[in-house]
């Protein structure tokens, strides 16, 4: 017996219709047709606008009959549509009153916030037709991908090593040596999976890949004439659609399949995928920005507004999404559920996440419903949730982010402490002891584990690692804002000359500092994150805010890999060492005592004298030893590890603690030694000559293990 609901009940303008399902929101294939559902709290009426692909004018406009409105949801099933070539939008009628917060305007065609595919910027950087009345067009996805047995990987957070990358920048440069049509795309990342395996990272974090407009605020540089684009994409047009311009098949509208294939292939080799998501604002900007979607559908619901009707600007970008409004909260939840269930994404990093804890008037909430909802959601139960625990409105919550036992944080304090320590600043040893232990000073009292701390020294925001040791100050002139943009507290040091130099001593010192940074990162408790290209010395020539450059300044230059093979090898071996030793990846905080009766505390502190750390304000020296018997709380057995950090500008003799009975010290890494003696493949470390002590060079560190 055929279902009855495949037959229409109404006809308007020759189109066959039925009252639709109000839920789920968006456009969904149903037998014989497409179900459209969209909500607006304040619209008086709504019209569905249908286009054939890329046509300037719609082929049909269907006003929703009164009977097709349930609550505040307009819902309608339209039959006999060529859904593959369909682009759809809405017109919303209602009050237009700036002060009251209403922007209804029937001349605008609006993108469905729940559209799963968005066309209009199908190929990156191709100038759109600016006269087009409907710039970003909703399309319908099949959602029928064959995942076979794939699902999110569920790697324990403390075992992750994250590689933060830009989807386009990773392979756009010719030097990537992949098929031209794949350069700068998801397919290109797939072509480089073997490289990621070689490096050894087990998680990639993609900078925003939700549909955005690279032409938003695009402009010519006043002096150079270079076209500056919205390259980073921290400005979402639609939260459910992957960016078409990041897909080699975007021109065919197959970006969802391409991205899912990438995720599936990464999962096959044990690499998880985290998305950098931006729920703090949208691409509609302030009151002078374009009307794309939310503003025309339900401005007062979606945005935080001042009593005069202006946009609160806690994001620094013009508007603030009203995340703790129950309706918007529902959209955010729907979005993350969709990416988890439909794309098998392993986790999310939330840009300027402190905004998500503000109430509709901007006040920080003690118990933000959105953060709580996400923490306890059954579908997101195993997703990694990582907060950038600050916002542009002055809220800084590193260590105090409302976490419900679920949220990890980008640890900005880790970044700053390590940067200052490696350039030789005084009085940091106490702080470094905290950072190396996974920042218990920030997290332990609240019962949050070391893996709460996402440890990083560099990220897309700020200097690359090579620039951190090559520039004292930022050089952002290329951004066209007279070097006024970007952060000023970089804690960087140029080692004597600003920028590139032929001086081999300075080059050697810079490499040594980079080795120190990477080694400290990989022996710290918490979750290390490295920045794309840092493993072979990527430079942005001192620019610490490259958000607007679609150029070789941002594209990874793979030729550096050959030039920097010694440095790459160091990074690769450090990653392998961390994977090999669970003692770096504890799920619980250290107790700084011998709670298992092994003869050694789980972590002990040392200096030039064993068992005597110098905690004074003038100290630049710290050594620590991890007891392998206490690894993962004693659940697994590991080696004893000893790390001596000498950030002083003179060599120092370190007297060593005794290794466990019957064992000896072996050298894994010595950043003061010339490659290839600087590091050894885990398992093939040479024995230390004198077991009682060793000379640690100036601004160097040594990692030993006992066996």
């Amino acid at each position: 017996m055929e279902r009855i609901d495949i037959h229409p009940t109404h006809e308007i303008n020759g189109r066959k219709l039925r009252c639709g399902q109000p839920f789920p929101f968006g456009a969904m294939l149903v037998p014989g047709g497409v179900n459209f559902a969209i909500y607006s709290s304040h619209a008086s009426s709504c019209t569905l606008v249908l286009f054939n692909k890329k046509e300037p004018q719609p082929f049909a406009e269907i006003p929703f009959p009164e009977a097709f409105r349930i609550g505040n949801v307009f819902c309608m099933t339209v039959f006999d549509l060529d859904y593959e070539n369909l682009e759809y939008g809405y017109r919303m009628d209602g009050p237009n009153n700036f002060q009251a917060g209403h922007w209804f305007d029937t001349s605008k065609i609006l993108l469905d916030p729940y559209a799963k595919i968005v066309s209009g910027r199908d190929v990156w950087g191709v100038q759109p037709d600016w006269n087009d009345i409907y710039q970003h067009r909703g399309r319908i996805s099949f959602d029928d991908f064959d995942w076979q047995d794939d699902r999110p990987l569920d790697i324990p957070l403390e075992d992750m090593i994250i590689y933060e990358m830009h989807a386009r920048g990773f392979t756009k440069d010719e030097s990537a040596r992949i098929k031209d049509s794949h350069r700068g795309t998801f397919a290109g990342i797939r072509d480089k999976i073997s490289y990621l395996q070689e490096l050894g990272v087990n998680t990639i974090e993609l900078m925003p890949i939700f549909e955005f407009d690279e032409f938003e605020n695009s402009r010519r540089h006043p002096e150079t004439g270079e076209l500056l684009l919205n390259y980073w994409g921290y400005s979402t047009v639609n939260f459910f659609a992957p960016k078409a311009g990041y897909a080699a098949t975007g021109k065919f509208g197959m970006q969802t399949d391409e991205l899912k294939t990438l995720v599936k292939e990464l999962h096959k080799v044990g690499i998880a995928v985290i998305l950098d998501v931006v729920f703090n604002h949208t691409a509609e900007g302030n009151e002078r920005g374009p009307t794309i979607s939310f503003r025309g559908i339900d401005n007062k619901t979606y945005y935080m507004l001042t009593p005069e009707g202006y946009y609160f600007n806690f994001s620094g970008t013009g508007n603030t999404l009203n995340c703790n409004n129950p309706i918007v909260r529902g959209m955010v939840l729907d979005c993350l559920r969709y990416w988890t269930a439909e794309f098998h994404i392993d986790g999310f990093r939330f840009d300027l996440a402190s905004i998500l804890g503000r109430d509709p008037w901007g006040f920080p909430l003690a118990n933000p419903p959105l953060l709580e909802t996400l923490a306890f959601d059954p579908i997101l139960a195993r997703s990694k949730l990582i907060a950038e625990a600050w916002d542009a409105g002055g809220l800084y919550q590193v260590g105090s982010f409302p976490n419900y036992g679920r949220w990890a944080e980008w640890n900005g304090k880790y970044r700053d402490s390590v940067r200052k320590f490696i350039k030789g600043d005084l009085g940091l040893v106490g702080e470094m002891a905290q950072r190396i232990q996974g920042s218990p000073d920030l997290y332990q009292a609240a019962g949050r584990p070391p893996s709460t701390s996402i440890n990083f020294i560099t990220a897309h925001d700020g200097f690359t690692l090579a620039d951190l040791v090559s520039y004292n100050g930022k050089h952002n002139e290329a951004n066209g804002e007279h070097n006024n943009d970007g952060a000023n507290d970089n804690y960087s040091w140029n080692c004597g000359i600003e920028g590139p130099t032929d001086n081999i001593y300075i080059q050697a010192l810079r490499h040594k500092l980079m080795r120190n940074a990477m080694a400290i990162l990989m022996v710290s408790q918490g979750v290390p994150m490295i920045l794309m290209g840092d493993e072979f010395g990527r430079t942005q020539y001192g620019n610490n805010n490259t958000y607007c450059h679609d150029s070789p300044l941002n594209w990874l230059n793979w030729n550096l890999l050959e030039k920097e093979k010694d440095w790459f090898r160091f990074v690769q071996y450090c990653i392998a060492f961390r994977h090999a030793h669970p003692v770096f990846r504890n799920a619980e905080h250290f107790q700084n005592c011998d709670y298992l009766g092994t003869g050694y505390p789980d972590i002990s502190w040392h200096g030039v004298q064993a068992w005597h750390a110098d905690w004074s304000a003038t100290s630049r020296v710290l050594a620590f030893m991890l007891c392998g018997q206490h690894a993962k709380g004693g659940k697994v057995k590991d080696n004893q590890i000893y790390v001596a950090m000498n950030m002083h500008h003179e060599s120092l003799w370190f007297n060593l603690p005794e290794p466990p009975l019957g064992q000896a010290w072996y050298v894994f890494a010595n950043t003061g030694a010339k490659p290839p003696e600087d590091i050894h493949w885990p398992g093939s470390e040479p024995r230390l000559d004198s077991q009682s002590g060793l000379l640690v060079g100036d601004r160097s560190l040594v990692i030993l293990l006992a066996k």
Binding site: E84, F145, K179, T249, D257, E258, T261
Partner: protein, 109 residues
């Protein structure tokens, strides 16, 4: 869209000419589905198919499922390089037996 079906010795040769998209896929579907009887062998020659849309690829996948369910064999021949690349990038390729030429396709049956 032109669909030509020939019964060869031991297999059906289906030759397509034209684009396969949401409009033409149902036609192709109707023409080929009846052939997917248990233990039959089908070669789909797509030398004359310049473009295949998402719906076209999904039709192929549907055919693959149908033939697999019926223990029939399906071999695709003559796909353009761009089509193979699109199928690879979007994850469709791994399901199919693909050969460059008709002779190679026969050998793969």
């Amino acid at each position: 869209m032109n669909i030509d079906i020939k019964q060869q010795d031991g297999f059906h040769l289906v030759t397509l000419a034209g684009e396969v998209d949401a409009n033409t896929a149902p036609k192709v579907h109707q023409a080929i589905m009846p052939l997917a009887e248990p233990d039959t062998k089908i070669i789909l020659d797509m030398t004359e198919v310049p473009y295949m849309s998402s719906a076209g690829l999904r039709l192929l996948l549907f055919l693959y499922r149908q033939t697999t369910a019926n223990a029939a064999t399906l071999v695709l021949v003559g796909l353009s390089e761009e089509l193979i690349d699109t199928m690879s990038v979007t994850g469709f390729l791994e399901f199919f037996t693909i050969r460059d030429t008709l002779d190679a396709g026969k050998a793969a049956l």
